[in-house]
Structure formats: C-alpha cells, structure tokens
C-alpha cells in the first residue's frame, strides 16, 4: 500500500509533537472544493 501523508488538522497538536520530535511543522492551507 502506498505511503500517504498523515495530516493533522490541529496546529496546537502539531506544536506539541514538534516540541517532542524537534521537527518543523509543515502547514498547508487548502481549499477542499
């Protein structure tokens, strides 16, 4: 099965994970339409 991006939908959660992993956040603003 092909790998997929596991997007979070909550910046606060991403910040918490970024603090633990020392990775930067990639924030994508998108239009679902």
């Amino acid at each position: 099965m092909a790998m997929q991006v596991c997007w979070l939908d909550n910046l606060a959660k991403a910040q918490e994970t970024a603090r633990k992993t020392h990775k930067p956040i990639l924030l994508d603003f998108f239009n679902p339409q």
């Binding site: 979070l8 956040i25 990639l26 603003f29």
Partner: protein, 152 residues
Amino acid sequence: MGTVTYPNEGVARFIDLNFIPVQIEISNQEMVQRYNVSWTPTILVLDADGKEHYRVVGFLQPDVFIATFEVGKGRYYLDQEQFAEARALFEEVIDRCPAPEVVPEAIFFRGVAAYKQTHDPKHLRAAYDTLTSKYSQTEWAKRAEPYKLIPA
C-alpha cells in the same frame, strides 16, 4: 496539490521524515488571519512555537516540492542558528539538483549559512560568483549583488 503532489510516494516519505504535517481549510478564519493567508495552496514552515520561517504560495510539482521544502527546512535551521544542518540541506539541493529552479536560492542561503557559521565573508563572495556565473538571470543573483564588494 491534493491530486498530484501529496499522493506522490516520494513526497509523502519526505514529509513524514522531515516535518509534522498539518492541513487547515482556507475557511478557518482564525488561522487565515493569524498567518495572513489569502490564496491556496499556501504552505508554511513553522517552528514549535508557531513562528513562520518559510512560505510558498502556488502549486509545486513533486520534485520541485521536495527541493523547495529542503530549502525551507534549511531556512528553519538557519533561523535556529543550526548552521551545519542548514548547510547540509542547501548542499544536498545544490549537489543533487532535483529541481534546477530551486538551486539558486540554495546557493544564496548556503553562502549565508556558511558565513554565519564561520564569520568568513568569502562564503558570501563565493555565492555571488556562483550565482552570477551560472544563474545570472535569477532574482538570487541580484540579491547577492552587494557581495561583489567582498574581496575574492
């Protein structure tokens, strides 16, 4: 991005290895105002405090996306004063040259990162020389123009 670039396996692997990915709908007014976003796609690199370090507006093909956000991560490291890590990322984009349109920016910031790490201005002059000899028509060659005053 959602139909071409993000489904690409190389892109998915790159994002998973290098970033914590978040997607926010453009209808989220609080986030749109917080980051001053007016068009999609707009893609930002943030630190754990939510501070912006890099921004791209518009569609990117998979190869260009990976190279662009290698530079974006390099800019994040540069702002964190992790100069060796920043240089390594810029070098990779320059050496591997996966997307030639991204290379001039990587050359410019390789010079900046090397200067900030060593305090030796020859790195800025080297960036100017490379940009004017190989990429003279790019905005990055113009941005490096002041470095021609540094003795070679």
